[in-house]
Symmetry: C2
Subunit: 322 residues, 2 copies
């Protein structure tokens, strides 16, 4: 039954037709992912908001960025993100390499520019060598696009096999009885209508508040979701269904990050999307099932990054007004 709705993680690193994942690209991407010099201030790296020690996100309602500004939406986990059909809460980036360019340039996040990033990377010989190795035969391997490609390749390795995968792969003992009851409820109540596939979500767009709009604390009026991307009235307050892998370790919830308790989040979803009161007892079982989606984090050894040179642009904490 479960395989009608869900799919286990692949056993190898997902490959992308337009960005073949190679060991050289992974290594370069790992260095870039951890390098705070991709931000104007030198304070933030990809890792800052997609912290691999805390579920691949940052445990905040919305992230703190350049100049102590707060970002507009909750930072999603980078784990298994490669398997989403598109990136960001509104799906505005078609893949991780498109996504990677966003925060680097966002004024409230890393506040950098492509030119400054390329100048930074070109100032360090090791980066020039690594880009040449990762993008062999290219005339100008060090580029903002290739930075994004390498980061995507590294992120493609961040796959977290969970007990639920073992269950889908045939191990009936991988879930507890309560978790199995939660799974049954998850399907019977209709959660799996949107939260399905390999990431139990991340693969479709739905109005938040399909049946009943949650309060403005959870669904702030000013953020119209995918409407901003498509400018189509029917996309008002539409968001990508949240992928649910590692959901139990990535509070707070929703694009607004306003709900910290997973049980409450389940109950909010019941009313908002299904018009159904999920009882405490049911919600506890569904949460138990969701806990079976907490996966094993791949071992990540910290890279050693090249040192700045005289040509490296200096960090600036200055906040430039828009």
């Amino acid at each position: 039954m479960a395989l009608d709705y869900f799919e286990p993680l692949p056993s190898t690193i997902p490959q992308m037709a337009d960005n073949r994942v190679t060991p050289e690209k992974i290594d370069l991407g790992k260095a870039l992912f951890f390098d705070p010099r991709l931000s104007a201030s030198g304070v933030f790296s990809c890792y800052s908001c997609h912290n691999l020690t805390t579920g691949g996100d940052d445990n905040m309602e919305t992230s703190v960025g350049h100049g102590w500004q707060k970002g507009p939406r909750n930072s999603p986990t980078v784990f298994n993100a490669v398997l989403n059909i598109a990136q960001f809460w509104d799906g505005r980036a078609e893949d991780l390499k498109a996504q990677a360019k966003g925060p680097v340039q966002a004024g409230v996040e890393m506040a950098n520019t492509p030119d400054n990033v390329v100048a930074t990377l070109n100032s360090m010989q090791a980066y020039k060598d690594w880009f040449a190795d990762a993008f062999p035969g290219e005339a100008e391997p060090v580029s903002f696009d290739n930075m994004a490609r390498a980061i995507e390749a590294f992120e493609a390795t961040l796959i977290t096999p969970a007990p639920f995968d073992a269950f889908l792969n045939g191990d009936d003992m991988a879930l507890t009885d309560v978790q199995k009851e939660g799974l049954q409820l998850f399907v019977d109540k209709g959660c799996a209508t949107c939260h399905n596939g390999v990431n139990l979500g991340g693969n479709g767009y739905y109005p938040f508040g399909l049946v009943e709009k949650p309060g403005a604390d959870i669904l702030p009026e000013g953020d119209k979701g995918r409407f901003t991307v498509t400018e189509t009235a029917m996309d008002e307050y539409v968001f990508r269904a949240a992928p649910l892998r590692n959901i139990a370790v990535t509070a707070p919830y929703f694009h607004s990050g306003k709900v910290w308790d997973l049980k409450v989040a389940v109950q909010v979803m019941g009313v908002a999307q299904l018009g159904e009161e999920v009882s405490d007892e049911e919600a506890v079982k569904i949460v138990a099932f969701l806990e079976s989606l907490t996966g094993e984090v791949p071992e990540v050894t910290l890279p050693t990054l090249p040192a700045e040179t005289a040509n490296t642009p200096r960090p600036t904490a200055e906040v430039v007004p828009n």
Copy 2:
């Protein structure tokens, strides 16, 4: 000759009489070192300013902390710091466990309180278990003091053997000819008077500007160094001699972080401390020698931290005025 002034790194993790380093303490300390929830905002961990990918420091003049405030002094590398006689630029912490309590509480850094840290740690069962394992037999293993002890234990493992150690251990080929000339100049000119011992510094206090005070850009008048600790007139503008291991990868230099070029830093030191103009040619050789102090960073695998619970204090980006 070199062994008259310098000492190679120990081949095992340095032990402290009052804080025995055990595997359990190291593992706990690593988790704490990487945990941004030790800061009030959830933005900063020890790793933020002592970044293990970039020389154990943060490549900024002075660090950016809570509320985007700038710290008063350049962040020193955590690598080999266990071997300094005291911590901070003014030596105000007698060891790393005393040091570790500082930034966690500093309003311009992590802006947290011991009570809030302990509440945070006690809210997660895994931390309670890890503290019990690391501090067996203690009635209340989860404490701010034990947090600091565990962090010290992890930091004691961050030792970076360098070509200069191989040289001191008898490998004449470990330094190039230019590096050997630089070493000779380093000793002959008197640099080794203050920069000696196992960390080539970090073991004594000296006035910055012993012979001639550098300009206020490099030595800001408002920061009187060790005077603030001892309140003794002779300690005005006195600082701990900077330990020089990994100096080539930890720009910018001095407590003010105002000099980015190591060659310039060497020349500033020549005039300020020795009353001697170091020529470009000499400075290049000394820098070549200093590059032999860039060590191999130990392999650090990221920990997986426990998830917050309903009892975990929530992060706050709010800046509380003093």
